[in-house]
């Protein structure tokens, strides 16, 4: 299982990667939605961490593409946006875990 991390902030992206590696996960890193592309490299057993507030393409666009895959992998949203904006961006998606920055709860339990 690979964890795909779509996050524009260098520090957060690297820290997420280190944490995932510390529990033995492979990681692939993307600074924005465009770099993530169509998500064709993602296998159904993978996990995709998506930041909502991405430069350029919005995080919800990335999620929409992932959901269009034949067997979509699990998506976890991370966001520092105000709650109202998160609700608005996530209004069309059901059953997606959202973690707000700063991540005070244990991300690892979600990754296991």
């Amino acid at each position: 299982m690979t964890v795909h991390i779509v996050e524009d902030d260098d520090g957060v992206r690297d820290a997420l990667a280190e944490l995932c590696k510390s529990v033995g996960r492979r990681v692939r890193l993307y600074p924005d939605g465009e770099a993530f592309g169509a998500g064709t490299d993602v296998s159904p057993s993978d996990v995709v961490l998506v930041d909502l507030g991405l430069p350029g393409e919005h995080g919800s666009e990335v999620i929409r593409r992932i959901h269009a895959l034949p067997v979509p992998p699990r998506v976890i949203v991370i966001s520092g946006l105000p709650l109202a904006d998160i609700h608005f961006a996530m209004r069309e998606f059901a059953n997606i875990a959202v973690m707000r920055k700063p991540l005070t709860s244990d991300l690892l339990t979600l990754l296991m």
């Binding site: 902030d9 520090g11 957060v12 690297d14 820290a15 997420l16 280190e18 944490l19 590696k21 510390s22 529990v23 991370i78 520092g80 105000p82 709650l83 109202a84 998160i86 609700h87 608005f88 996530m90 209004r91 998606f93 059901a94 059953n95 997606i96 875990a97 959202v98 973690m99 707000r100 920055k101 700063p102 991540l103 005070t104 709860s105 244990d106 991300l107 690892l108 339990t109 979600l110």
Partner: protein, 398 residues
Amino acid sequence: MQAVRRPTLSEARLESVLETAPDGIIVMDEGSRLLIFNKACEQLFGYQASEVIGENVSVLMPREHQDNHDLYVQRYRATGERKIIGIGREVEGRRKDGSIFPLDLSVGEALTPNGRQFIGVIRDLSARRETERRLAAVQADLIRMTRVSALDEMGSALAHELNQPLTAIMLYLQALEREVQRLQSAETKLEPRAVELLGKATREAQRAGSIISRVRQLVEKRAPERKRSDLNTVVDEALELAMLGRRRSIILERHGPETLPVVFVDPVQVQQVVLNLARNAIEACHDADRPTLTIKTWFESDSVCFSVSDNGPGIAPEQMQSLFSAFRSENGTGMGIGLTISRAIVQNHKGELLVDPGGNGHGARFTVRLPIAADEKVANRDSAAAMPLAAAAEPDKT
């Protein structure tokens, strides 16, 4: 005793003037005794004329002025120095029930066969004062709210900026903790002091995180109160505030149809936008020849719009770059924050704020578009926003 006689023509005229005058009129003699107390005065002070005719005029004054009034009159008679006669001023009156009210008093003087007489014309200022007080209160409210939103804006921007590194720190610490656990189980004994320090660092990072969460909750609590509103009314009320005390220095041009489609907005927030834009415009055309603020309202296919423009120099290209940045420091007027808030408010209403910088003899023009209220759509969106996050590990609630 004088025999009852028919009033002369001039007496009849005077009588009718006194009866119909909208202002209070009193006449007193040199000894401050009331000779005339007209109908309007009866309404103003609550006394019948018969109750006060012959009394000292000081019954109409607050107690603290009563004793001095006779002195004022004496001093005038001795020196001829006019402090109020022919000048007029705002003073306080006392009603029969003891209540005090502001009034505008003009005093004239007449030399009559019966000696010197003083005529006072009294205009009640309580209504005007009340309006002024109310307007000042509303404006103070708006200014306070603008400041609060500026703080909100800064608070959330700051929280967001700090969030990123803090998130990274907490994740690194989690990873490090993981690493330490692995080492411990591999019986490569780690210095206990290092474990202890790591625990402390984690706790402190979490503390910082919860502070940021709290700041954010504070900001998010203030939800807009939207209702069906007429944009013309919203704009005009805000303009009234913006123009307060400036009617003489700024020309206001207002264009637009009398009726507009209804918008679904928080009127106070939209007024904040109008006020912000109008203030910026007034400031911008300060040095113009005939400074003019032009406000238009109109509607197009699915939106209701208003624009605020001035006849100032326009916005310089280098200023346009950072026009909306909240933390711009080179402009001490705080225009950046005002515009940032304005744009945030407009976007919150699913509208847009457009800027035409002007220049070359044209002032800047800011245009705001707000979607026409479509009640069904609005209801749907609100229920979507109220939907709880699905299966979320909501850190703020733990």
